[in-house]
Protein backbone atom coordinates (compact mmCIF):
# COMPACT_ATOMS: atom_id res chain seq x y z
CA UNK A 1 0.00 0.00 0.00
CA UNK A 2 2.53 2.62 1.13
CA UNK A 3 5.31 1.40 -1.04
CA UNK A 4 8.36 3.51 -1.87
CA UNK A 5 7.00 4.12 -5.36
CA UNK A 6 3.63 5.34 -4.05
CA UNK A 7 5.23 7.73 -1.60
CA UNK A 8 7.60 9.09 -4.24
CA UNK A 9 4.85 9.75 -6.77
CA UNK A 10 2.62 11.34 -4.10
CA UNK A 11 5.40 13.74 -3.11
CA UNK A 12 6.13 14.61 -6.75
CA UNK A 13 2.47 15.22 -7.56
CA UNK A 14 1.85 17.34 -4.46
CA UNK A 15 4.94 19.49 -5.17
CA UNK A 16 3.78 20.01 -8.74
CA UNK A 17 0.28 21.11 -7.66
CA UNK A 18 1.73 23.49 -5.03
CA UNK A 19 4.14 25.04 -7.53
CA UNK A 20 1.38 25.48 -10.11
CA UNK A 21 -0.95 27.17 -7.57
CA UNK A 22 1.80 29.49 -6.32
CA UNK A 23 2.78 30.41 -9.89
CA UNK A 24 -0.82 31.21 -10.74
CA UNK A 25 -1.16 33.36 -7.61
CA UNK A 26 2.12 35.13 -8.34
CA UNK A 27 1.10 35.98 -11.87
CA UNK A 28 -2.50 36.84 -11.01
CA UNK A 29 -1.70 39.33 -8.26
CA UNK A 30 1.24 41.11 -9.93
CA UNK A 31 -0.92 43.38 -12.08
CA UNK A 32 -2.21 45.43 -9.12
CA UNK A 33 1.30 46.78 -8.50
CA UNK A 34 2.01 48.02 -11.97
CA UNK A 35 2.77 51.69 -12.63
CA UNK A 36 2.69 53.55 -15.97
CA UNK A 37 6.07 54.41 -17.47
CA UNK A 38 7.37 57.83 -18.40
CA UNK A 39 10.57 59.12 -20.02
CA UNK A 40 12.26 62.28 -21.27
CA UNK A 41 13.96 62.06 -24.65
CA UNK A 42 15.89 64.64 -26.59
CA UNK A 43 17.98 64.40 -29.74
CA UNK A 44 21.51 65.64 -29.21
CA UNK A 45 23.40 65.40 -32.48
CA UNK A 46 23.01 63.69 -35.85
CA UNK A 47 26.42 62.09 -36.27
CA UNK A 48 26.05 60.11 -39.50
CA UNK A 49 23.43 60.23 -42.23
CA UNK A 50 23.88 58.69 -45.66
CA UNK A 51 23.44 55.61 -47.84
CA UNK A 52 24.72 52.34 -46.46
CA UNK A 53 27.06 50.93 -49.15
CA UNK A 54 26.48 47.27 -48.33
CA UNK A 55 22.77 47.22 -47.51
CA UNK A 56 21.97 50.02 -50.00
CA UNK A 57 19.53 51.75 -47.69
CA UNK A 58 19.34 55.11 -45.97
CA UNK A 59 20.85 55.09 -42.52
CA UNK A 60 21.21 57.54 -39.68
CA UNK A 61 23.24 57.44 -36.50
CA UNK A 62 22.62 59.96 -33.74
CA UNK A 63 23.25 60.79 -30.11
CA UNK A 64 20.45 61.33 -27.61
CA UNK A 65 19.63 62.05 -23.97
CA UNK A 66 17.24 59.81 -22.09
CA UNK A 67 15.91 59.99 -18.54
CA UNK A 68 13.44 57.60 -17.01
CA UNK A 69 12.62 56.27 -13.55
CA UNK A 70 11.71 52.57 -13.64
CA UNK A 71 11.77 51.87 -9.88
CA UNK A 72 8.00 51.41 -9.55
CA UNK A 73 7.61 49.52 -12.80
CA UNK A 74 9.02 46.33 -11.30
CA UNK A 75 6.39 44.08 -9.75
CA UNK A 76 6.98 40.81 -7.90
CA UNK A 77 6.51 38.74 -11.02
CA UNK A 78 9.05 40.75 -13.05
CA UNK A 79 12.27 38.84 -13.64
CA UNK A 80 13.86 41.73 -15.50
CA UNK A 81 12.78 44.61 -17.71
CA UNK A 82 13.74 45.00 -21.33
CA UNK A 83 13.75 48.73 -22.02
CA UNK A 84 14.06 49.89 -25.61
CA UNK A 85 13.68 53.00 -27.71
CA UNK A 86 11.87 52.72 -31.04
CA UNK A 87 11.64 55.19 -33.90
CA UNK A 88 8.47 55.03 -35.98
CA UNK A 89 7.44 56.71 -39.21
CA UNK A 90 5.39 56.14 -42.33
CA UNK A 91 6.74 55.94 -45.85
CA UNK A 92 5.38 58.36 -48.47
CA UNK A 93 2.69 55.81 -49.45
CA UNK A 94 1.65 55.12 -45.87
CA UNK A 95 3.56 51.94 -44.97
CA UNK A 96 4.67 51.76 -41.35
CA UNK A 97 8.28 51.31 -40.24
CA UNK A 98 9.38 50.67 -36.67
CA UNK A 99 13.08 50.51 -35.81
CA UNK A 100 14.70 49.81 -32.45
CA UNK A 101 17.68 52.14 -32.00
CA UNK A 102 18.71 51.36 -28.43
CA UNK A 103 17.89 48.72 -25.82
CA UNK A 104 18.97 47.66 -22.37
CA UNK A 105 18.24 44.82 -19.97
CA UNK A 106 17.34 46.27 -16.55
CA UNK A 107 18.08 43.74 -13.82
CA UNK A 108 16.10 43.67 -10.60
CA UNK A 109 19.13 43.29 -8.33
CA UNK A 110 21.05 46.14 -10.00
CA UNK A 111 19.07 49.00 -8.45
CA UNK A 112 21.41 51.67 -9.85
CA UNK A 113 20.12 50.75 -13.30
CA UNK A 114 16.50 51.44 -12.37
CA UNK A 115 16.98 55.18 -12.84
CA UNK A 116 17.95 55.58 -16.48
CA UNK A 117 19.96 58.75 -17.07
CA UNK A 118 21.90 58.77 -20.31
CA UNK A 119 23.60 61.88 -21.64
CA UNK A 120 24.91 62.02 -25.20
CA UNK A 121 24.24 58.31 -25.73
CA UNK A 122 25.14 56.78 -29.10
CA UNK A 123 22.42 54.66 -30.76
CA UNK A 124 23.08 50.92 -30.64
CA UNK A 125 21.48 50.07 -33.97
CA UNK A 126 21.33 52.19 -37.11
CA UNK A 127 18.07 53.84 -38.03
CA UNK A 128 17.91 52.37 -41.53
CA UNK A 129 15.28 52.64 -44.23
CA UNK A 130 14.96 50.30 -47.19
CA UNK A 131 12.76 52.80 -49.08
CA UNK A 132 15.51 55.48 -48.95
CA UNK A 133 12.98 58.06 -47.84
CA UNK A 134 14.61 59.28 -44.66
CA UNK A 135 15.63 62.73 -45.95
CA UNK A 136 13.48 65.41 -44.35
CA UNK A 137 11.30 62.83 -42.62
CA UNK A 138 9.76 63.60 -39.23
CA UNK A 139 9.93 60.51 -37.02
CA UNK A 140 8.14 59.67 -33.77
CA UNK A 141 10.10 58.29 -30.81
CA UNK A 142 8.61 55.81 -28.34
CA UNK A 143 10.01 54.48 -25.07
CA UNK A 144 8.99 50.86 -24.51
CA UNK A 145 9.31 48.44 -21.62
CA UNK A 146 8.79 44.70 -21.97
CA UNK A 147 8.08 42.86 -18.71
CA UNK A 148 9.92 39.57 -18.70
CA UNK A 149 7.97 37.55 -16.13
CA UNK A 150 9.20 34.92 -13.69
CA UNK A 151 6.17 32.92 -14.76
CA UNK A 152 3.17 33.88 -16.89
CA UNK A 153 2.49 36.28 -19.71
CA UNK A 154 4.88 38.83 -21.15
CA UNK A 155 3.50 42.34 -21.24
CA UNK A 156 4.59 45.53 -23.00
CA UNK A 157 4.17 49.16 -22.02
CA UNK A 158 4.98 52.06 -24.29
CA UNK A 159 4.91 55.83 -24.16
CA UNK A 160 5.38 58.51 -26.82
CA UNK A 161 8.41 60.61 -25.84
CA UNK A 162 8.89 63.01 -28.74
CA UNK A 163 9.75 63.47 -32.38
CA UNK A 164 12.53 64.88 -34.54
CA UNK A 165 13.14 65.68 -38.18
CA UNK A 166 16.06 64.28 -40.13
CA UNK A 167 18.18 66.62 -42.31
CA UNK A 168 16.99 67.50 -45.81
CA UNK A 169 20.26 66.27 -47.35
CA UNK A 170 22.76 63.52 -46.50
CA UNK A 171 25.57 64.76 -44.29
CA UNK A 172 28.31 65.61 -46.80
CA UNK A 173 31.16 64.34 -44.67
CA UNK A 174 29.75 60.86 -44.69
CA UNK A 175 27.76 60.22 -47.86
CA UNK A 176 30.71 59.36 -50.11
CA UNK A 177 32.71 57.33 -47.61
CA UNK A 178 32.82 53.55 -47.55
CA UNK A 179 31.30 51.93 -44.51
Amino acid sequence: MHSLKNRFSAICFFTLICMACLSLFNWGTAVIQRKPIDADFSLNKMSKFGVHPYLNEDFAQFKFNLQSDLTGVFDWNTYDLFAFLTVEYESNDGRKTEVTVWDDIILRKNTKQHKIDYKNMQVEYLLSDKNKELRGKTVQVYFNVDHMPVVGFTQKQRVHVGNFTLPEEYLASYSAKRY
Partner: protein
Protein backbone atom coordinates in the same frame (compact mmCIF):
# COMPACT_ATOMS: atom_id res chain seq x y z
CA UNK B 1 -22.56 -27.05 -25.48
CA UNK B 2 -20.14 -27.68 -22.66
CA UNK B 3 -17.33 -28.24 -25.11
CA UNK B 4 -17.98 -24.92 -26.91
CA UNK B 5 -17.93 -22.97 -23.63
CA UNK B 6 -14.68 -24.64 -22.71
CA UNK B 7 -13.05 -23.60 -25.98
CA UNK B 8 -14.20 -20.01 -25.60
CA UNK B 9 -12.82 -19.73 -22.10
CA UNK B 10 -9.61 -21.29 -23.34
CA UNK B 11 -9.25 -18.62 -26.04
CA UNK B 12 -10.16 -15.93 -23.55
CA UNK B 13 -7.42 -17.06 -21.25
CA UNK B 14 -4.76 -17.04 -23.92
CA UNK B 15 -1.60 -15.02 -23.36
CA UNK B 16 -1.97 -13.62 -26.87
CA UNK B 17 -5.03 -11.52 -25.98
CA UNK B 18 -3.36 -10.01 -22.99
CA UNK B 19 -0.34 -8.99 -25.01
CA UNK B 20 -2.57 -7.42 -27.66
CA UNK B 21 -4.41 -5.44 -24.98
CA UNK B 22 -1.11 -4.13 -23.62
CA UNK B 23 -0.01 -3.04 -27.09
CA UNK B 24 -3.34 -1.32 -27.78
CA UNK B 25 -3.22 0.56 -24.46
CA UNK B 26 0.32 1.68 -25.26
CA UNK B 27 -0.80 2.97 -28.67
CA UNK B 28 -3.71 4.75 -26.94
CA UNK B 29 -1.29 6.71 -24.74
CA UNK B 30 0.86 7.76 -27.70
CA UNK B 31 -2.12 8.72 -29.84
CA UNK B 32 -3.84 10.75 -27.12
CA UNK B 33 -0.61 12.71 -26.56
CA UNK B 34 -0.45 13.35 -30.30
CA UNK B 35 -4.10 14.45 -30.30
CA UNK B 36 -3.48 17.01 -27.55
CA UNK B 37 -0.45 18.37 -29.44
CA UNK B 38 -2.35 18.61 -32.73
CA UNK B 39 -5.35 20.34 -31.15
CA UNK B 40 -2.96 22.85 -29.53
CA UNK B 41 -1.58 23.50 -33.02
CA UNK B 42 -5.08 24.20 -34.34
CA UNK B 43 -6.01 26.46 -31.40
CA UNK B 44 -2.85 28.59 -31.58
CA UNK B 45 -2.42 28.66 -35.40
CA UNK B 46 1.17 27.71 -34.68
CA UNK B 47 3.33 24.86 -35.97
CA UNK B 48 4.91 24.25 -32.56
CA UNK B 49 2.87 25.93 -29.81
CA UNK B 50 5.37 25.03 -27.08
CA UNK B 51 9.14 25.39 -27.38
CA UNK B 52 11.99 24.77 -24.96
CA UNK B 53 14.82 27.33 -24.85
CA UNK B 54 17.95 25.50 -26.03
CA UNK B 55 20.55 28.25 -25.95
CA UNK B 56 21.57 31.13 -23.70
CA UNK B 57 21.16 33.82 -26.35
CA UNK B 58 18.16 35.35 -24.55
CA UNK B 59 19.76 35.38 -21.07
CA UNK B 60 18.92 36.62 -18.50
CA UNK B 61 15.23 36.73 -19.48
CA UNK B 62 15.07 33.14 -20.73
CA UNK B 63 17.46 30.49 -19.43
CA UNK B 64 18.08 27.07 -20.96
CA UNK B 65 15.20 24.75 -20.13
CA UNK B 66 12.49 27.38 -19.85
CA UNK B 67 9.24 26.52 -21.62
CA UNK B 68 7.68 29.15 -23.87
CA UNK B 69 4.09 29.21 -25.13
CA UNK B 70 3.47 30.80 -28.51
CA UNK B 71 0.58 31.78 -30.73
CA UNK B 72 0.46 32.90 -34.32
CA UNK B 73 -3.07 34.20 -34.92
CA UNK B 74 -2.02 37.83 -34.74
CA UNK B 75 0.69 38.43 -37.36
CA UNK B 76 0.97 42.13 -36.61
CA UNK B 77 4.57 42.13 -35.41
CA UNK B 78 6.15 45.08 -33.62
CA UNK B 79 9.74 45.57 -32.41
CA UNK B 80 10.21 44.06 -28.96
CA UNK B 81 8.11 41.00 -29.76
CA UNK B 82 9.98 37.80 -29.08
CA UNK B 83 9.45 35.47 -32.01
CA UNK B 84 10.43 31.94 -32.98
CA UNK B 85 11.73 31.57 -36.51
CA UNK B 86 13.31 29.01 -38.79
CA UNK B 87 15.01 29.76 -42.09
CA UNK B 88 17.39 28.22 -44.59
CA UNK B 89 19.18 25.06 -43.59
CA UNK B 90 18.61 25.61 -39.86
CA UNK B 91 16.01 23.13 -38.71
CA UNK B 92 16.18 24.18 -35.06
CA UNK B 93 13.74 27.01 -34.31
CA UNK B 94 15.46 30.10 -32.90
CA UNK B 95 13.89 32.29 -30.16
CA UNK B 96 15.00 35.90 -30.63
CA UNK B 97 13.62 39.42 -30.32
CA UNK B 98 12.45 41.54 -33.27
CA UNK B 99 14.31 44.84 -33.55
CA UNK B 100 13.13 46.16 -36.92
CA UNK B 101 9.78 45.85 -38.69
CA UNK B 102 9.42 47.58 -42.05
CA UNK B 103 6.25 46.99 -44.05
CA UNK B 104 6.59 46.06 -47.74
CA UNK B 105 2.85 46.24 -48.30
CA UNK B 106 0.41 48.17 -46.17
CA UNK B 107 -0.81 45.89 -43.33
CA UNK B 108 0.91 42.97 -45.05
CA UNK B 109 4.33 41.49 -45.75
CA UNK B 110 7.23 43.08 -43.90
CA UNK B 111 11.00 43.06 -43.57
CA UNK B 112 11.88 41.74 -40.12
CA UNK B 113 15.22 41.81 -38.32
CA UNK B 114 15.93 39.83 -35.13
CA UNK B 115 18.56 39.84 -32.41
CA UNK B 116 19.20 37.81 -29.27
CA UNK B 117 19.17 39.92 -26.10
CA UNK B 118 22.47 38.40 -24.99
CA UNK B 119 24.17 38.66 -28.40
CA UNK B 120 26.21 41.68 -29.41
CA UNK B 121 25.07 41.90 -33.01
CA UNK B 122 21.87 41.25 -34.95
CA UNK B 123 21.11 37.90 -36.60
CA UNK B 124 22.17 38.77 -40.17
CA UNK B 125 25.17 36.47 -39.70
CA UNK B 126 22.81 33.58 -38.88
CA UNK B 127 20.59 34.04 -41.93
CA UNK B 128 21.23 31.86 -44.98
CA UNK B 129 21.58 32.88 -48.64
CA UNK B 130 22.72 36.46 -47.95
CA UNK B 131 19.30 37.19 -46.50
CA UNK B 132 19.37 40.63 -44.88
CA UNK B 133 15.80 40.53 -43.53
CA UNK B 134 13.34 37.81 -42.57
CA UNK B 135 9.78 37.74 -43.90
CA UNK B 136 6.56 36.70 -42.22
CA UNK B 137 6.79 33.19 -43.72
CA UNK B 138 9.88 32.47 -41.61
CA UNK B 139 8.14 33.27 -38.32
CA UNK B 140 6.53 30.38 -36.45
CA UNK B 141 4.93 32.45 -33.71
CA UNK B 142 5.11 35.08 -31.01
CA UNK B 143 5.98 34.30 -27.38
CA UNK B 144 3.04 34.83 -25.01
CA UNK B 145 3.95 33.15 -21.73
CA UNK B 146 6.88 31.63 -19.88
CA UNK B 147 7.23 28.75 -17.43
CA UNK B 148 10.74 28.56 -15.94
CA UNK B 149 12.83 25.37 -15.99
CA UNK B 150 9.88 23.07 -16.76
CA UNK B 151 11.60 21.77 -19.86
CA UNK B 152 14.94 21.01 -18.23
CA UNK B 153 14.34 17.27 -18.83
CA UNK B 154 14.38 17.89 -22.59
CA UNK B 155 17.76 19.61 -22.27
CA UNK B 156 19.15 16.71 -20.24
CA UNK B 157 17.78 14.16 -22.70
CA UNK B 158 19.38 16.09 -25.57
CA UNK B 159 22.73 16.47 -23.85
CA UNK B 160 23.01 12.88 -22.64
CA UNK B 161 21.67 10.42 -25.27
CA UNK B 162 22.13 7.39 -22.97
CA UNK B 163 19.67 8.96 -20.52
CA UNK B 164 17.20 9.23 -23.39
CA UNK B 165 17.50 5.51 -24.26
CA UNK B 166 17.19 4.53 -20.60
CA UNK B 167 14.05 6.64 -20.06
CA UNK B 168 12.32 5.49 -23.26
CA UNK B 169 13.26 1.84 -22.61
CA UNK B 170 12.08 2.06 -19.02
CA UNK B 171 8.74 3.56 -20.05
CA UNK B 172 8.21 0.82 -22.64
CA UNK B 173 8.92 -1.92 -20.10
CA UNK B 174 6.67 -0.23 -17.50
CA UNK B 175 3.73 -0.10 -19.91
CA UNK B 176 4.14 -3.67 -21.16
CA UNK B 177 4.76 -5.21 -17.76
CA UNK B 178 2.27 -3.15 -15.74
CA UNK B 179 -0.73 -5.01 -14.32
CA UNK B 180 -3.87 -4.35 -16.30
CA UNK B 181 -6.60 -3.12 -13.92
CA UNK B 182 -9.23 -5.14 -15.87
CA UNK B 183 -7.63 -8.51 -15.32
Amino acid sequence: MEAVKGTISEIAGMKMRKLLLQIVSFIMIVVSALMIWKSCMVLTFCESPIVVVLSGSMEPSFARGDILFLTNFDQDYTPGDIVVYTQGSYEIPIVHRLITVQEIEKDGEAYLLTKGDNNNVDDRGLYDNNLTYLNKKHILGKIRAVAPYVGILTILLNDYPYLKYTVIGGMLIMVLVAKDPQS
